[in-house]
Amino acid sequence: MSFVSLGFLAFLAVLILLYYLVPKKGQWILLLAGSVFFYAFAGWSALIFIAVTALSTYLAGIYIGKLAADRDKYIKEHSAELDKEAKKAYKAKVKKRTYLIMSLCLLLNLGMLAVIKYTDFGISIVNGIFRTNIGFVHFALPMGISFYIFQSMGYIIDVYRGKYAPEKNIARFALFVSFFPQLLQGPISRFDELSKTLYGPHKFDWNKFARGAWRVLWGYFKKVVIADRMITAVLALSGEPEKYTGVYVVALVLFYAIELYADFTGGIDITIGVAEMLGIEVAENFDRPFFSLNITEYWRRWHITMGTWFKDYIFYPLSVSPKMLKISKWSREKLGQAIGKRVPVYLSTIIVWFATGLWHGAAWNFIVWGLLNCLVIIVSQELSPLYTRFHKRFGFSNTKGYNVFQMFRTFWLMGFIRVLDVYRDVPGTFRQVWSVFTTANWGNLFSGSFLKLGLTLSDFIAVLAGCAVMFTVSVLQNKGQVRDNIILKRPVAVRLVVFVLIALLITIFGAYGIGYDAGAFIYGQF
């Protein structure tokens, strides 16, 4: 069920109504039922996959929890007779077992993900290397599988690390895995954070409800008015790469940046807003990323929960693992301090970005996309002392103008890397980007050829106006939430009328129905 559908709106209305009518203790059960219903819409077979993930992770968590509890009890009971070494040995023994259970759980779930998502990709590689001709299997990707498996894996790793006790109630755990607003495209929540508010009880809180509703409205605005309109031009430009070179590639970079941002953040706004209407707090996923001064910062502000997931569960463990420390030691001895110091960090970085690329999709364009990000990050890391010296000498690094230049630079750099997504063809993308420098067709900006991409002049005006609103809101957010600072300070009647007006505007200016591609949320496919 897409967020942009009448079915979803109806589902939401009924769910929220029931949510505040049923006894408070039953609220989370209702949410679980709603989530199952929501997921069943994508087909019953998809339910099996999420059930396997929920059940296996739940059982593994319980088992690890039990082993840890037994261990603590044993040590406590025998603390007198055990010396430090014996305790340590015992702990290590238990840890081995919990590690095994966690690994099995990871293996099962990531294996499932790998088989479904990457089999065809693997086959294509095998075919490429061995010149074989193995047929593709074409598994249908169950909705949101990359998101809920990552969320569950974060949970089991945390339980293994002893960060928190495992959830004992399987139904409650199932709700954590399947909570419907974040099924489609995240955020990837952490159990300790989400569980604080997920299970209620929640009394109806007008302010929370209104804040959530405003955020949902804002999400729909971005998604329906801007993203779903822009996608037509993005598809047209990327669909005929031979025709659209040079200035069109620059336009595509810009259009896709707008579309992806509006689509993804819009979807997340709806997710978080819906949760807020239910009294539940979901982690933020964006922090106005296009205002970032450099790529490292950009990745701290874009798709935040994915970034921290990779950092906490792959980057850190990898780079501080005994093996990596050994490599570090070895490289320091052989290659000298300067390089040796960098080896573990950079090696982990490369692996993480490779994985990030692969997570986004089973295709070379995503992998190259990940590695290009990685390259830029490492290069800028290496150049940073140079920058610092340079700025110290000329002393303009903190001027507003320079910051704007940095944002501009980051925006376009990320934009050009990002078009790998839309061309889905690695050499093709490089050809296209190269054509920006070789094809002098900037005159087309004013020749009217942009009106042949499926968008009329009024569509472009609508997008432009939408972007202006989006930009203004982002700037206003410098001083905190617009809802708190501006909207919620007005009288209720004014707020209601403005809310309704915006809803009407979305109804009119939204790009939906006949003539518009019913664009699925872009991130739903990963």
Binding site: S5, L6, G7, F204, W206, T456, S458, V492, L496, V497, F499, V500, L501, A503, L504, T507, I508, F509, G510, A511, Y512, G513, I514, G515, Y516, A518
Partner: protein, 361 residues
């Protein structure tokens, strides 16, 4: 906060929203007064429903070619046309079903041209045929039966967009004209019991040869609906007459004609291919058509109607209602409007040399 207060707030917001949607919808839906005027036809039926002994169903070959006013004036036969542009056979069937909710005619006349279309041709024609229909289960079934592939892809939205046409026409915001504001709460009458009048002339000078077809059989779905129309008429004691209007294009192949003749014989129906009667009727394609052969103009339509009235007298038992007060009363206004429009068109034609619209303004 008290529950009541919350409910009032939310209800107020919903109410304002509904009001806003209603107003915007009135503004944004096409008014069909300056272009595609035929979009008014289906809705207009409800203003002349009741007391019609003959019902015509079909595409422009009925609504441009037959004049119920003439049929009344010359024969005392009461009739109505439920035509719409590119009306497909399933549209016609549901048109008939919908009509039966308001009246039961004695004779139904179906123009068989649409037998050649086995698939929805364009979403736009669905809107022209169905948007004007009043809500009932008939309309719902008609929508489901008519959906194009694109519409069927998002079926819920499609059905919803007939309940709330703003969902379909919201993007007309950039095409709004003065007429959209002027006719926001009501349009003017276009048709004369379903007949669309044009008095101008564009002679036929050439008709391209029709290329032979690889396959002349009609689609199964068309036969199914023809049979549905026939049984529905049968059940309601209605006499069904099949016609092929004397329109030169699209070409009506002999191979098609033979199939209809055979069907009519099997089922004991009247079928008349009026293309064969053109000389008897006296239709002159240099003066009787307004678009070089596709549609007849007023002169052509009146000639055809005159002939068809005689045909009806000969083949049916339709009563002559002339002189019956309740009928005379109803038709007197219709005759006035008919003459009024003909005059207005004639005036504009003589002043401008061409027609800008049906109303001559």
């Amino acid at each position: 906060m008290k529950a009541l207060k919350i409910i009032i707030r939310i209800a107020a917001a919903l109410l304002v929203f509904a009001l806003g949607i209603w107003l915007l919808q009135r503004l944004l839906v096409p008014k069909y007064v300056t272009e595609n005027e035929e979009g008014l036809l289906v809705k207009e039926y409800y203003s002349y429903a009741g007391g019609n002994d003959v019902l015509f169903i079909g595409d422009c070959e009925v609504y441009s070619n037959f004049s119920p006013v003439r049929l009344w004036q010359d024969f005392g036969i009461t009739s109505a046309i439920r035509g719409s542009p590119q009306q497909l056979i399933w549209h016609s069937y549901y048109m008939l079903e919908d009509t039966l909710r308001y009246e039961t005619p004695k004779v139904v006349v179906f123009n068989v041209l649409s037998m050649k279309y086995g698939e929805p041709q364009s979403e736009a024609y669905n809107r022209l045929a169905l948007d004007g229909m009043k809500w009932s289960d008939v309309k719902y079934r008609a929508i489901k039966a008519s959906m194009t592939e694109e519409e069927a892809d998002s079926e819920a939205l499609t059905v919803a967009s007939y309940v709330m046409p703003i969902l379909r026409f919201h993007s007309r915001w950039n095409e709004l004209t003065g007429a959209d504001f002027k006719y926001m709460f009501g349009t003017r009458q276009l048709s004369h019991n379903g007949y669309v009048m044009r008095i101008d002339v564009k002679p036929v000078d050439t008709i391209p040869k029709a290329a032979p077809l690889p396959d002349y059989s009609f689609a199964d779905v068309c036969w199914d609906y023809l049979e549905k129309i026939r049984t529905l008429c049968d059940r309601n004691g209605i006499q069904l007459i099949l016609i092929k209007a004397p329109t030169l294009r699209p070409h009506w192949y002999d191979e098609w004609d033979e199939q209809i003749v055979k069907y009519a014989e099997e089922k004991g129906l009247c079928y008349v291919n009026i293309l064969n009667e053109v000389e008897t009727i006296g239709i002159d394609y240099t003066t009787d058509t307004f678009d070089a052969g596709m549609h007849l103009n007023l002169s052509g339509a009146e000639k055809l109607t005159k002939w068809f009235g005689t045909y009806l007298k000969a083949n049916t038992a339709l009563p002559n209602h002339r002189g019956e007060a309740e009928y005379e009363e109803k038709w007197i206004d219709r005759i006035d409007y008919y003459n009024e429009m003909a005059e207005a068109q004639a005036k504009q034609l003589s002043e401008n040399g061409k027609l800008d619209g049906y109303w001559g303004d």
